[in-house]
Symmetry: C2
Amino acid sequence: MNSPRRSAEPPKADKAGVRRYNLSLVLRTVHDAGETTRAAVAAHVGLTRPAVSSLVEQLLERGLLVESGKTFSGQAGRPGTVLKPASTGPAGLGVELNVDYVSVCVADLTGADRVRRTVRLDNRALAPVEVLRRAATVAAEVLDEAAARDLRPTGVRLALPGLVAGGTVQQAPNLGWNRVDADTLFTRALAAARPAGAPALPVASDNEANVAALAELWFGGLGGIRTFVHVTGEIGVGGAIVLDGELLRGAHGFAGEIGHLTVVPDGPRCRCGSSGCLERYAGQAALLRAARAPGIDALVRRAEDGEARALAALDQAGRMLGVAVSGAVNLLDPEAVVLGGIYPRLTAWLAPAAEAELGLRVVSGLWTPARGRLRAASSTADAARGAAALVLRDILADPLAYDT
Amino acid sequence: MNSPRRSAEPPKADKAGVRRYNLSLVLRTVHDAGETTRAAVAAHVGLTRPAVSSLVEQLLERGLLVESGKTFSGQAGRPGTVLKPASTGPAGLGVELNVDYVSVCVADLTGADRVRRTVRLDNRALAPVEVLRRAATVAAEVLDEAAARDLRPTGVRLALPGLVAGGTVQQAPNLGWNRVDADTLFTRALAAARPAGAPALPVASDNEANVAALAELWFGGLGGIRTFVHVTGEIGVGGAIVLDGELLRGAHGFAGEIGHLTVVPDGPRCRCGSSGCLERYAGQAALLRAARAPGIDALVRRAEDGEARALAALDQAGRMLGVAVSGAVNLLDPEAVVLGGIYPRLTAWLAPAAEAELGLRVVSGLWTPARGRLRAASSTADAARGAAALVLRDILADPLAYDT
């Protein structure tokens, strides 16, 4: 029987290590507060006022914090100068590379989405190296625009619709990718797309659905909910699980694949090799095929017009979504399930069928429609922004690791 | 965006609180080591030798540790007297109350199963108060036997096949229970079954599958695996999820219900109100019905004899188990899935069908039969022992909270 593990310690016990840890602590405290004062930071982190002032000075010098002229009257003590995270300087670059589009975002240190470009591209038709080359071209344009606004991303996070481990896309059935070394290929492509001599940015890949879920947690309208399942309808269906504010990654980094939950064991074959996966009923491709609609806009119009085939396709997708989500709820007992991607626009038609299944199949009985546990994702929280924010999290964790 | 939470601190910062915390730290260190010395404990916990000696003295006085005459030669320093957790004195009482049996276990502080009684009872036919009364009678007998061996349980953990929250069984479909205040009813029944004047023992209820999974983690043969799904075949099918050595309880305490994962959306009705649940194919009742066998022993004999109906029923149950487990694996990406309850005896027939489904349906491709990720539960790790060990965990966490 194992004892509870002992508490985490600051990474290094030497003086420089402690200072580095405390710099992060102060930066994170200001970041989480949005606006605060030196006195409030000192009270929050349990360091002396002079110690905090010295740390703040270093963060101001590095351009990670800014002071605002106005004063801020706290609950105790004298008013102090307001501290905020900088909205210029160090930033994050997020690149969502999905099946039929690329979306690139620069977020500043406050998490705000400052530069954005989204390009429709059919990435299924192209070789991985070409897809990553095109995405890098868009990213290079966005970096130019960011530079013009005095934003300097310190790294790149790629969000990809597949199983990602150690910088490699092990499998992305809807892109047709197998063992693609996305980190290396994108690093090369980005260097080629930028002016000679531009500093190389570190690139790291992640699963698109995971990153979208973090964006929902950080920037969405969850109102304090920290344990939820996130289901993203794209060409395929992505999924992610957040437990108490942390992504569940699983033993190999492959957790959250709700799109490949079996909903009908002898159902149609899926690109993943299985049959009857949720994706084959509720993914965008399957849904449009069932509705015989050319796109989501057309599907919405036809559903609004009450077209029988569109309504039947949405009802079927909603039911299957309900079956799969019920499984996830019975296993995980989350506070909510968030539907993102194409689903928010389709909620009016998907939700009734899905909630009927949830009411029937969730054994705890807590998922009746009246409880509103099935909710649409926020429109401002997407994978590109989540990816950019993961770069920010690295800056917050170790503010000295980046040249500024 | 939330920062990582700060590290946990000892519960109280005053001197008595720190001492209490350190007593627990020393006791847990000896417990986890099995056998050790004062010097080794001091090195492990980072306290001085005199401080550890004083804490050990107090634990010896309270009968939580014992010294052994033999000496133990460690890697550094002089040989010291061996310290071990006591195998008499404070202990835990676990009561597994399942659909067709009650099993009661007393575990000593080392976790060893010291007194055990298992009684076949058809608990479906009786009112909850009567079921708990019979279980309390067995528990009282076990307490007498424990006292004769100088074992004194400090509390009782009940393990029940249903959704348990706050001491109440919200729902136990296979027992036919709804909102049964098990803690209170069992406390009363146990007091009535014991001699007048016997000290009252605190009672707490938990889900049977959760407790069985902890038993597997603590006493089974997982060889360091700390992230797994545990599926227990009983009359129903229970499930539990362990992530990095901790039970996933979920937002309301109802996580892990793999038995009610839908495997065939339009399948037969389940007692839970849904249809096509795993339990309706792979639970003991469903399996025996499909095989037309009167019990598991008979089913095993017929399968060994190659009887077609028995083999078909086992193949079907294995396939459905494989479908549901694939769903859990796609969501959670565990290192292993452990099959307990009736399943270990049936592995030869269930596993091939289940592994074929896992190979087909797990999108990561990591669940081929050759990898052996589907494994039978250990025979020495059951819910009653896990329940008893949960009482021990309370003693280890705060050794002064119990009269000894």
